[in-house]
């Protein structure tokens, strides 16, 4: 096999690919005021904000913020068949416990998404670890959220393995600029995390149709587990999904934002979380650098006479930020 040489920095620049330093120095530092970070880092706060703004989020069943309250756990979750426990300030999807269903009522035993049984004791331990800050940045004390488990829509069933595929959209100055679908694989252990081997598939901004994907920064056309082609899946309600993403930007005041949306079978698109430091792999998934789209958005915004509504912004993005041919 031929050696896979690195790409030259000049070519990378030509393609408008954003590097980590540029993302941190020119976008995150300049567009995202630090004081707004808690709005996205604290998922509880994000959820409240989103509900106020009329956006759909997974319903919150309850919050456990002190060790004392753990005793209420059985009472809190007993009425639900399935739910998700997550740290409000977790980093990178760490510490999320997905409960698929009830295994027995007396004693109360649940089933994890992996199929393993989990008793109330183990669940309580997980929550106390969350409270102690095991999953939060810098080990700060945290609170545990218990919320609705997303019943993911069959849309991506053929091209994902276990887990919940989600749609990540980068919103720049209120305009959705790029999107990708993250598809779990066996290798990623059902997690929609590209670092762990999930597939990132680009999305055509114009029509909301999936493109080819990448796994471990390599181009893939078919899902490794289901062997189905990744491209060509239509995401329903693309316009409204982009509008939701645009609204998140207004709601948080962040100029460079990652919005993660899941498609629920019954409830439609739900905002899962927001990210003030969205990763760069979305560029590889779309086979295109962010830079050109950002520049085009800048030119558009700088010549506007009035602020556009989220719907107008989503429409503009669909029309003007479709794959930019190089």
């Amino acid at each position: 096999m031929a050696i896979n040489w690195p790409i030259s920095p000049r070519r990378l620049k030509e393609l408008g690919v954003l590097g980590m330093n540029q993302r941190n120095g020119e976008f995150i530092a300049e567009m995202n005021a630090r004081r707004y970070y808690p709005l996205v880092d604290d998922k509880l706060l994000t959820k409240e904000l989103a509900e106020e703004a009329g956006l759909h989020v997974p319903k919150l069943y309850g919050v456990i913020s002190t060790t004392h309250e753990i005793r209420q756990l059985a009472k809190l979750v007993g009425i639900h068949e399935d739910f998700v426990i997550k740290p409000a300030n977790g980093a990178g999807g760490d510490g999320i416990l997905v409960i698929d269903g009830k295994q027995s009522h007396e004693p109360l035993i649940y089933r994890k998404s992996s199929g393993m049984a989990i008793g109330m004791d183990a669940m309580a331990l997980h929550i106390s670890n969350i409270l102690a800050g095991a999953y939060s940045l810098g080990g700060r004390p945290d609170v545990a959220m218990i919320e609705y488990r997303v019943k993911f829509s069959p849309l991506f069933e053929k091209i994902s393995f276990q887990g919940v595929p989600d749609i990540r959209t980068i919103v720049y100055r209120g305009y959705p600029v790029m999107a990708m679908v993250r598809l779990p694989t066996t290798q990623s252990d059902g997690k929609a995390n590209l670092h762990q081997g999930a597939i990132g598939a680009g999305v055509d901004m114009a029509g909301g149709q999936t493109l080819d994907g990448v796994a471990h920064n390599r181009h893939v056309t078919h899902h490794p587990d289901t062997r189905e082609p990744i491209s060509g899946v239509d995401i329903p309600g693309w316009q409204s999904l982009l509008e939701m993403a645009a609204k998140c930007s207004d709601m948080t005041g962040l100029g460079y934002l990652g919005v993660d949306v899941v498609l629920d079978r019954d409830l439609g698109p739900l905002i899962l979380e927001l990210n003030a430091r969205p990763g760069l792999s979305i560029q590889v998934a779309n086979g295109e650098g962010l830079r050109h789209r950002i520049d085009r958005t800048d030119r558009h915004v700088d010549h506007l006479l009035r602020d556009e509504t989220p719907a107008e912004r989503a429409a503009w993005s669909r029309e003007h930020l479709a794959p930019m041919n190089l």
Partner: protein, 524 residues
């Protein structure tokens, strides 16, 4: 605007840092490399006195501003004697006094000198010498002798050389013979040369000094002749007429009088002892600059107590380690556990040496990790679990030390030098990354941390680097400037050229689509 501001700050910091360092290097003589030693001489004047019963006083000329040499340090040892030092004209002297001295005693004066100038300093012309008053026929003899020498010489220096040669000739000129007893001493001959030079109106004086020899004992002073050539005093050897002082000649005092003037003493004897020392160049420069009263040295680390100095020797390297982290993370893109944890690991490598450090560190983290995974099964809460890991880490450290000592491996003993909190934190972080992102990621980050720590260690342990930053701490400003500069670097990291290499082919897949293809997707 912000860019210009930053560049200005960077430039300013660099300029200040470099110029202060350059000044210390060029003007104060701080060495750029470690282990540089300069030659210094310790000269000890021993004055053996045999006082009577009357109050005694001893005046002793002290060297002041000797040509070629700088006085670094001096000291007096004289138990029970009152001591004052005073300066008159160009001569410094010490005065010892005692009301009722008894028995033989020795007074000591010790000076440390260091040869630092090749040129003799210029000094103002003292004016033409007054010719001595001589009786005839001596006067005519001297004048014709001087006339003769003048005819054969070109300038003051050659005149003096020729004159000295004549005075010392084995068969002197007949005009000279009248002045000179055949058994005249060196001092008498020098005195004669000075009077003859005065006839030619050339100012001349006697100087006395010590030949510096290693382990020299019982040395007496040597007389020399200096003539003023209207710019500076030029030394002439009163025996050969050769110009200049020998390299290791320390001028002690000037003038036609002994170094000692005493009263109330029966007997006095002056001898010199000299030794050559090799002194740390930093120390010499420090002494020299304190003599030069350089304000800069009021802010020197070298004045701190030794243990504080040693702390700073290490502390001053942390910025350098931080810079290396910045370079490796932001320019290369190596991932590490924690931001500055590798610097702390590198600091502990200083004690354990690199290979031993890496081996011990890996060993403890691996063992600790195993224990940590076992503790995971016990379902402990976070803080008690961390505490348990710390306890286990310390037990492991003790165990490794004892076992390796039994085996005769001393390297194992240094395991105690690792900051165990760092070890415990590393273990905790590795295990969380292991669980959340898989062993591959954990290993990659652990290896990254070790590589960065090793690199930081190699830089920080370098004796040149340690020396430079300790002697020239102002260079940290340059490090700061460079760090600020890297802080605005928004180009690609080296690892990103690998991460994004899929674009080599991806970009081609996104070349202009055929015009018929209005909906993207299918042929991508």
């Amino acid at each position: 605007m912000r860019r210009i501001h930053l560049l200005f700050v960077v430039l300013l910091l660099t300029l200040v840092g470099l110029s202060v360092a350059y000044y210390k290097y060029s003007a104060l003589g701080f060495p750029l490399t470690p282990d540089r030693e300069t030659e210094t001489w310790t000269v000890e004047a021993q004055i053996a006195v045999n006082p009577g019963t009357a109050p005694a006083s001893v005046r002793f000329a002290l060297p002041s501003n000797p040509p070629h040499y700088t006085l670094l340090d001096e000291g007096f040892v004289s138990r029970g004697w009152g001591l004052t030092t005073q300066s008159s004209d160009r001569q410094r002297e010490a005065v010892w006094t005692k009301r009722n001295p008894e028995g033989n005693q020795t007074l000591y004066y010790q000076a440390t000198v260091y040869r630092d100038q090749e040129e003799i300093e210029a000094s103002p012309y003292p004016g033409p010498a007054a010719p001595p008053e001589l009786e005839e026929p001596l006067k005519s003899a001297a004048e014709s002798f001087v006339e003769e020498i003048r005819a054969g010489s070109a300038d003051i220096q050659t005149f003096a050389t020729l004159l000295v040669k004549e005075v010392n000739a084995s068969r002197p000129d007949e005009n000279i013979a009248a002045f000179l007893k055949p058994d005249a001493t060196e001092t008498e001959r020098t005195r004669l040369a000075i009077s003859l030079l005065a006839i030619a109106r050339i100012p001349a004086r006697m100087s006395h000094g010590v030949m510096l020899t290693d382990e020299g004992r019982n040395l007496g002073p040597t007389t020399w002749l200096e003539v003023h050539n209207s710019r500076r005093w030029v030394p002439i050897d009163p025996r050969s007429g050769a110009v200049g002082y020998p390299r290791q000649f320390l001028v002690w005092w000037h003038g036609d009088q002994p170094a000692l003037a005493t009263s109330g003493l029966q007997d006095v004897e002056l001898t010199f002892a000299t030794t050559r020392n090799l002194r740390d160049a930093v120390e010499t420069a420090q002494l020299q600059s304190s003599i030069a009263e350089s304000r800069l040295m009021d802010f020197s680390l070298l004045d701190l107590p030794i243990d504080a100095q040693n702390t700073y020797r290490v502390l001053l390297l942390v910025p350098l380690g931080a810079l290396i982290i910045v370079l490796l993370r932001n320019l290369i893109g190596i991932r590490t556990f924690g931001t500055f944890m590798p610097v702390l690991i590198a600091l502990s490598f200083r004690e354990t040496q690199l290979v031993g450090g890496v081996v011990l560190f890996t060993l403890i983290v691996a063992l600790g990790l195993a224990i940590r995974f076992y503790l995971e099964r016990l379902k402990l809460l976070l803080v008690p679990r961390l505490a348990a890991v710390v306890i286990v880490v310390i037990l492991l450290m003790v165990l490794i030390s004892i076992v390796s000592h039994r085996l005769g491996l001393d390297i194992g003993l240094s395991v105690g030098l690792f900051p165990m909190v760092i070890l415990a934190m590393t273990i905790e972080r590795v295990s969380i990354v292991w669980e959340e992102h898989g062993p591959g990621d954990a290993m990659a980050q652990a290896a990254g941390s070790l590589v960065v720590a090793a690199l930081a260690y190699l830089v920080m342990v370098n004796t040149y680097v340690t020396h430079i930053f300790f002697v020239f701490p102002e260079l940290l400003l340059v490090v700061l400037a460079f760090t600020l500069l890297v802080g605005r670097y928004t180009g690609y990291r080296l690892t990103e050229l690998f991460r994004f290499r899929a674009f080599k082919t991806l970009a081609q897949a996104h070349r202009p689509d055929p015009p018929t293809n209005d909906r993207s997707g299918d042929n991508r």
